[in-house]
Assembly symmetry: D2
Homo-oligomer: 140 residues x 4
């Protein structure tokens, strides 16, 4: 189970009543909502304009492994790093933390950047690439 120290960007996530499923824990689906909320927040803080910018990030793959249950009303932290930075795609490593510094769940997802109108893959803009490189654990 990864440690929070392996994730350079950390953001806070408040849980919601409806995150708890019938078994009393945060539903497996909600974790992916934490994943894309955390990564997109990073992108937006570094220049992505989700409302009208020329490029958008589309998710082409995602995965999650669940280690410990979480439950509303816990306040969570999501850690984000870059595991692979390509020309037009990025793989984020993401983990979700409850009160422990060990991840309750971790996984990854892949964004392919495309032109908003044509939806054709397009190089990651310099400003965003540079931000993504800054949270890569490997040399860029």
């Amino acid at each position: 189970m990864p440690s929070i120290s392996e994730y350079p960007y950390v953001t806070t996530i408040t849980t919601r009543w409806m995150d708890n499923d019938i078994y009393g824990h945060v539903n497996n689906v909600a974790y992916y909502s934490f994943f894309d909320s955390a990564a997109n927040q990073f992108l937006i803080e570094h220049g992505l304009d989700i409302h009208s910018g020329p490029i958008i990030g589309l998710v082409v793959e995602s995965k999650c492994e669940y280690h410990e249950p979480l439950a509303y009303p816990q306040v969570l932290r999501a850690g984000v790093r870059v595991d692979k930075l390509g020309n037009r795609a990025v793989t984020y490593g993401i983990a979700i933390f409850g009160s422990s510094e060990r991840a309750a769940a971790h996984g990854h997802f892949v964004h392919v950047f495309v032109d908003r109108v044509t939806r054709k893959p397009t190089p990651i803009p310099d400003q965003i690439r540079s931000a993504l490189a800054s949270i890569s654990l490997h040399s860029a």
Copy 2:
């Protein structure tokens, strides 16, 4: 549009990527998720055990008026007060705030407390009643 000063209990809510709908704003549905997350958080902090306690709160009515759009990745505040405190039911007044002290949306919902097993209405336990009375704007 109500002011945040009219709501004695205030909690923070982080928005999520998927809260934004195709028109770029937090979907009308999500506000109700903020409503029941904020009120239940208050209840839990004051003794409600949602996992195994003998009573549970069921929603029998809810309403919301939307004044200004909100959008992920804004951090929001939800204000909660008690508008009406009955023997077995409570009406919460709730409002959602973005960066302004004026509500972006406000509404109410009604909890009827029932026995977890029989689902029959049951008096609100003293500890919770007393907490609810403390955030009523009217004398209890």
Copy 3:
């Protein structure tokens, strides 16, 4: 509790695992998702282009009363009618049905139609107005 015969437009809704909350029933929030999915489906079938059309419908008010619990994996029906048809706004009456012809929940929501770009209120286009009038229980 209204009957399904009072709703001229009826559509099917499949429930989801995550609709059930910790108490084992469809969460109060999910009903509003049924409301706007059913009404927008009607609009789309009658000409609204949610992806790039010149006008969009914004929700300014919604309300729901809950009569009977529902639970995943039930298949539901949503009934839609028009309760009030203004120049730039429409009030839908909506009800959700399980296996009974009596509503498990019913309520309404109000769409104000606005220009997609300026977000200023704008008259409802003729084609859509005419469709809405056709599911009004009152003379248009």
Copy 4:
């Protein structure tokens, strides 16, 4: 991209307004909701009692690859098969279909069955095991 013929159990899923994200397509998160809704529906139809049965299925891993966009108000189909059937765990292969017989997305998730109270792993009950074996593409 897998074909629907590779999935012995197929169920219908209606999309919702809020499934569409700001980019106009079903959000990546929603697919996981389709996954666990489809698989649990199969389990419930074959004897799992999610409300009070002695065992429950917990998700310990999930993954999805996205091939083609989908969008509300499309009606979808989810195909379910069993890729691996262990003593206490099952891996479902799941795919989501729009109008094509080729999957718009496919992936898997793993259920570990546990005792509802102790949450300790427990053998899959015979009735459910037998049902799961019946949708395995391999000999059991």
